[in-house]
Amino acid sequence: MKSLKKFALGMAVAGLAATAAAAETVKIAYIDPLSGPFAATGTNGLHQYQFAADTLVNERGGVLDGQMFEIVAFDNKISPKESLIQLQVAIDQGIRYVVQGNSSGVANALTDAIAKHNDRNPDDRVLFLNYSAVDPALTNDKCNFWHFRFDAHADMKMDALTDVIAENEDIKKIYVIGQDYSFGKAVASAAVRMLTAKRPDIEIVGNELHPIGNVQDFTPYARKVVSSGADAMITGNWGSDMLGLGKAVIENGFSGPIYTYYAAADGITAAFGETGVGSLKLVAEGGNNPPSKPEAQEYVRAFKEKHPDGNISQSRITNVVQMLAMAIDDAGTATDVVQVANALEGMEFTDSLWSDNPMVMRPDDHQLIQEVHIYGHVPVEAPFDFDNSGYGLKYENSIVNAGADLPTTCEMERP
């Protein structure tokens, strides 16, 4: 009966639900889109995780007494439903760490489900390491003890962005445009709020939302931006909405800076090419291109050697991997996630690759406080360019401890 059970189990979940995690590896579930329209971003992220785990942890002897990191990929097809199914599969495999980043919708579903799961199943709790979903609510109203965010959230980035805009006396009029969903709205309201506070003289000449993923031709929007006489534009768009909007605006004669969150990599840099130079700005954490430290340059070279079509576009991934390794070592266990979470909470970390400024995992809301940069879209020599296009991102401004003074509404409940 026992063997039949094993066999049947193996058949049902085809080999994956089988044996419990082997003791010598620490498995990390990577739950992100590997098929469908966002697979490019997901696949590239997976490669970055695998490379970071191999280079930064496993080649240096692993964690504890030589346990290796293993990144296990789960395709969530960017669907909340599929993410939750894959989460269960991951937990069954004895995985205790989940990383996810693409789509705040999925992150919301996951953090909610993980909190409930940990509540209901105290024996196999799970940590959620969010490396990219920037909805402010995740570390504010919806925060919980099991969730850690390694990216600066939308408001923090906007704080940095508006600091830079405030110093630019040439900007008198600004157009804010974004996708019609929570992130787009969060960006717009933060932009208006912070600009009014920092530069009351700037006129917001446009503040609008367009349907997400459903606009075939951005020309009418571009016409409005151009005729509004705006000196600069702010958008939180990503994917084909970013590309379509940016190209249409530039092609129709807009020459001011376009401040963005996501106008790089995954084909976008290549598609903008020369047109984007001088216009596109991007706010993000991470290193310069080429990075200042030789080991970071070496890291990028080695990655591009392995994944010639990939990009090191999310340098925070190395932070996730390194900080998790540190926390496991500090806690002395990889299986008791409460101890690991306690070690992560308040951890100060100095990155060996991209930045010299220490970052800290704020205990109040599990939000990483770090340096944020405003980048410009410019020609960059290989292999530090994106999409092998000869273009990439370079520092224009840096803001240390960006958004550290933004309050949080998080009321953390600890186990």
Partner: protein, 318 residues
């Protein structure tokens, strides 16, 4: 006013592009009774083939060759796929084209990946044709307008001046007469399907550089094309033209003018809630026209179908 004229032109580009797809779809539907769900997928294939060809020979060769490849593919799919399914009835046919659309999307991702590919307008057309009060109009869009009109004229000529065209036209109005085409019915079907898909392919070649060439391009456009031919009236070429232009302008103008529900509600005498974010009607109050722009065609279609199931210009119901 000048912005209005620019919007008219922009809407015309969108509308004509839609019509390039609708005309082929209408031909196929009228002749064969098949609503080809995969029609926009052939549009996507056109763009991708043209991109691939343009990497070797430049844009212009792709303009000629890509639609031909797409047309041949379409004809082969008709011959070896659709014809087989035809015997089971119309619903399986529709479902077949639905599956085909899924398959083509997967196929495109398989070969070209999931990212947008850098398919760009030719250098020769990369300049500003004219500007109206600071609003530039790219030469490539002028080219698009001329291509669409040229295609329409060629189609019109074939339909009204050639023998095969007149037969097809007869079949447009009287589907039962298709049976009287003689022993060549299968050939005519294959030909019409091939030409229809080639036209979609041509639209893809032309639109790819402007609208972006990525695996999702078929999905976003496909449903709108359906809306056009249903609104225009199934089987009516003129209806398809009118509906395409209407929807092109509808989308352009909806995106261009920030009409706000707030203004309308105040005008109607409602009082604006002081604490908007606690009002149950917040989403209604903050609604703007651009937000609902893309769903207007669907709303339009539902209303047209409820009021006039045969469409604006349609003569027959299905």
């Amino acid at each position: 006013m000048s912005l209005f004229i620019v919007n008219i032109l922009d809407g015309l580009v969108t509308g004509l592009l839609l019509f390039m797809l609708c005309s082929g779809l209408t031909l196929i539907f009228s002749m064969m009774g098949v609503l080809n769900f995969a029609h926009a997928s052939f549009y996507m294939l056109g763009a991708y083939f043209a991109y691939q060809i343009s990497m070797f020979t430049g844009f212009w060769a792709g303009l000629i060759v890509a639609p031909i490849i797409v047309g041949v593919m379409g004809a082969l799919i008709e011959r070896y796929g659709l014809r087989r399914v035809h015997q089971y009835g119309h619903v399986p046919e529709l479902i077949f084209t639905f599956g085909l659309a899924l398959l083509i999307e997967e196929f495109v991702q398989f070969f070209w990946g999931r990212q947008q590919v850098p398919y760009n307008p030719p250098e020769a057309l990369d300049f500003t044709a004219f500007a109206i009060a600071g609003n530039t109009f790219p030469a490539y869009k002028v080219f698009m307008i001329f291509m669409a009109i040229a295609l329409f004229l060629v189609l019109l000529y074939i339909l009204t001046r050639t023998r095969v065209g007149m037969t097809i036209q007869a079949a447009l109005s009287y589907p039962e007469t298709v049976q009287n085409l003689g022993h060549n019915v299968p050939m005519v079907f294959m030909g019409v399907f091939g030409v229809g898909t080639a036209m979609a392919g041509l639209a893809g070649v032309i639109a790819g550089p402007v609208m972006g060439t990525f695996p999702g391009m078929a999905f976003t456009l496909g449903a709108i094309v359906f809306v056009c031919i249903v609104v225009g009236g199934l089987g009516s070429l003129w209806g398809a033209l009118v509906a395409s232009l209407l929807i092109g302008w509808m989308q352009t103008f909806a995106a261009s003018y920030n009409l706000r529900m707030e203004d309308l509600l105040i005008w109607l005498g409602f009082e604006k809630p002081t604490l908007m974010w606690e009002s149950a009607w917040q989403d209604l109050w903050t609604l703007t026209l651009p937000q609902v722009g893309p769903i207007l065609p669907y709303l339009f279609m539902v209303i047209v179908l409820v009021v006039r199931p045969q469409g604006l210009f349609g003569k027959r119901e299905t």
